[in-house]
C-alpha cells in the first residue's frame, strides 16, 4: 500500500456524535474528541475529584444568574473537537443546551494532576483556537492556578494565549466574565 507516514483516520464531531448516539461506546468510557482524535481520559484520583468539586462550588458562587457551570460535559468546540473540560462556564441555563452542546464558554477550567503538558499545550491551543476568552489550569502538582487569557488570533505552537500568569494559593483573582467578583485561589486547591 505504500504509505510513508502512518496517518490515523480523523473523526469529525458529526462522526463522533453519531457514534455516541448509536451507543457505540461503553457508557462508562470517558472520551473526548480533540482535533479529530478520540482521546481516552485518565481515571480520576481523589485529589482531582475534590478539586473539581471545589471549583464547581467556587464558580457557581462567582457566576450568578445568566450563567451555567457545567462539570465534565461536552463542548461542541469546532468541527473536529468535542472536549469534555473539567469545568465550563457558559451563558444561559441548562435547558438552552438540550438540543445541542454549547459551542463556546466564557471560562474553561481543567484540573491537572498528571497531564500538565497536554493541558498546557494541546488543550490551550484548542481552546485558544476556538476563541475561549479565558482558560484556567488548577495545577495540583505545583499548587497554583495558571491563568491564560486573550486567545492569539494566529495560533502557533506555544503561543495559544497571549497572556499567561500564575496565581499562588495566597492570591485572589477575578474572571474576565465576572470582573466585579473575586475568588481566593486557596478555595480551589484541595
Amino acid at each position: 500500500m505504500g504509505t510513508q507516514t502512518v496517518q490515523t483516520r480523523r473523526f469529525s464531531r458529526q462522526d463522533y456524535e453519531r457514534l455516541v448516539a448509536e451507543g457505540f461506546f461503553h457508557p462508562e468510557e470517558r472520551l473526548e474528541l480533540v482535533d479529530g482524535e478520540l482521546i481516552m481520559m485518565t481515571p480520576q484520583g481523589s485529589r482531582h475529584a475534590t478539586a473539581v468539586c471545589l471549583a464547581e462550588g467556587a464558580l457557581r458562587s462567582l457566576f450568578g444568574a445568566g450563567f451555567s457551570v457545567r462539570v465534565q460535559l461536552p463542548i461542541a468546540l469546532d468541527p473536529d473537537s468535542e472536549p469534555e473540560p473539567d469545568l465550563a462556564v457558559v451563558t444561559g441555563s441548562p435547558r438552552d443546551y438540550r438540543d445541542a452542546h454549547p459551542q463556546t464558554a466564557v471560562l474553561i477550567v481543567e484540573v491537572t494532576d498528571t497531564a500538565l503538558p497536554y493541558d498546557r499545550e494541546r488543550k490551550a491551543r484548542l481552546y485558544a483556537k476556538a476563541g475561549i476568552p479565558e482558560y484556567w489550569i488548577v495545577n495540583l502538582l505545583e499548587g497554583c492556578l495558571e491563568i491564560y487569557r486573550h486567545p492569539a488570533i494566529v495560533s502557533s505552537p506555544g503561543a495559544a494565549y497571549q497572556s499567561h500568569s500564575v496565581a499562588s494559593s495566597s492570591d485572589t483573582i477575578s474572571p474576565l466574565a465576572a470582573p466585579e467578583r473575586s475568588l481566593a485561589v486557596a478555595d480551589l486547591l484541595p
Binding site: 500500500m1 505504500g2 504509505t3 510513508q4 502512518v6 496517518q7 490515523t8 483516520r9 473523526f11 462522526d15 453519531r18 457514534l19 448509536e22 457505540f24 468510557e29 472520551l31 482524535e37 478520540l38 482521546i39 481516552m40 485518565t42 498528571t114 497531564a115 500538565l116 503538558p117 497536554y118 502538582l141
Partner: protein, 187 residues
Amino acid sequence: MTVQLCRRLFTADEYERMATTGIFGEDDRIELIDGEIVTMTPIGSRHAGAVNRLLNLFLPLQAEYAAQLSIQNPIRLSENSEPQPDLALLRPRSDFYASSHPGPQDVLLLIEVAETSTDFDRQIKLPLYAKAGIPEVWLIDLATEQIMAFSDPMPTGYQRSATYPRGTVLTPLAFPSTLLPTDAILT
C-alpha cells in the same frame, strides 16, 4: 509525572460495527492496524498497474477454482487488525466470503504493492501478518524494482525471506507450478 494520553483503540468487531453506522464514506481508504484506524494513501497509476498485472497473472488459478483472488478487500487478521492488502489469494469458499471476511486460515498468499516506501508494510504490517500465521507475503517494491517474498511465519516474524530482482522468476509456495517472471509484475 507521566502524560497518560491514549488514543481510543478499536477492536475489529467495533471497526466493522462502525462501518455499518455509515460514518465512513465510500472513498475512505482505511484499514485497522493494531487497533488504530489508519488511512491509506491514494493509489498511484504505477501501483494500480502492478495490481492489474498481478491479477492477470493469477487469473488462471482463479479460473481453475484453485484460489479466490481478492483485491484490496479486508482480511480479519486478529481481534484488533483488519488490513486491506492489495491482493490476497484465498482458499475458494462457496459464498465468496460474503458471510464474513477471510481469516488467516483462509489466506494462501498476500501481496502488498508499494510505490514509494515499503517502510509501513515492512515494519508494521509484515510482523502482524507473521504473528497471524499468514503463510506467505510478497512485497512488490516499485521504487527499487524488486520483489521480496516472506515465508515461514513465527509469532516473532517471518523466518525466511528472499529478494527477487528484475530478470528472475518467483513461485507462490501454495502453487509451485505457477511461475511468475518479475519482469511481468514490475512495471
